[in-house]
């Protein structure tokens, strides 16, 4: 189960599981956003490589038009996944407070 809400002038709150079954829906939602998009990951419990693909595709699209994707409230578990994949070098990531 994945829930995404917000965007444009407010952070996008994403919660649940971003896995292969939810990747298309997440991509569809994020494809509508532009500029600097902040993704609040406080409720994101799980992320697979399919989810990493969604984030990368979104970030690249935003970069091409002068924007970017930034992630906030990232849990330790997700930080590990971002570190293993090198995403911590290409995305702005703010850990959980």
């Amino acid at each position: 189960m994945l829930t995404i809400e917000g965007g444009d002038d407010t952070p996008v709150a994403i919660s649940g599981r971003l896995d292969a079954t939810q990747a298309a829906a997440a991509q569809s939602y994020l494809d509508r956003l532009a500029g600097v998009v902040t993704l609040d990951c406080a409720g994101l419990e799980y992320l697979s490589s399919a989810g990493l693909g969604v984030l990368l595709k979104t970030h690249k699209r935003l970069l091409a038009s002068g924007g970017r994707l930034r992630l906030t409230e990232v849990s330790r578990h997700l930080q590990d996944i971002f570190s293993y994949s090198g995403f911590d070098q290409i995305l702005e990531i703010e850990p959980c407070r």
Binding site: R17, D19, A20, T21, E45, Y46, S48, S49, A50, L52, G53, V54, L56, K57, H59, K60, L63, H77, D80, I81, Y84, S85, G86, Q89, I90, L91
Partner: protein
């Protein structure tokens, strides 16, 4: 040991997750291992769905071992593809040079204690076994998980 078979469809991943949840409960396995086990099984299962040419269901076995679980994914009607030797992924590339995909198999060894690939050409069956524990302690051989055939 807990065992179940799943059809080769991405949406069957929901059933896989439900099976892992129930198996962890019945085996009294450490819950802190769940996300990593979910992660590895999703990567392995979706790899079979995307690239496997067979139609027979994929079987997943989960056994309790000391401090964790040993998980085996068995794919019948398989071609040989050693997932422990995936194509190289350069995780140092800038975003502009990266392409989605290919990361899953690359990440598996990072989140488990060990992973092993076996292929039987005679049976055309691949078997991937990984171990995930809370420590680096070796698995308990008394867990009762012997060799299986497809």
């Amino acid at each position: 040991m807990e065992s179940a078979a799943f059809p080769r469809r991405i949406d069957a991943l929901t059933e896989v997750v439900a099976f892992i949840t129930a198996a962890f409960e019945r085996l009294d396995a450490p819950l802190e291992l769940r996300r990593d086990v979910d992660f590895v099984l999703e990567e392995l299962f979706t790899n079979v769905v995307k690239y496997g040419r067979g139609v027979a269901p994929v079987t997943i076995d989960i056994a309790a071992v000391a401090g964790g679980v040993e998980v085996t994914l068995t794919e019948p009607e398989a071609e040989r593809f050693d997932i422990t030797r995936p194509p190289t992924v350069d995780t140092t590339l800038p975003a502009e040079s990266r392409r989605p995909g290919g990361l899953g198999l690359h990440l598996i060894p990072r989140v488990v204690d060990s992973v092993k690939y076996d292929y039987s050409a005679a049976e055309r069956c691949s078997r991937i076994t990984f171990l995930k524990t809370t420590t680096s302690a070796p698995p308990d051989d008394a867990a009762g998980h012997g060799e299986k055939t497809c």
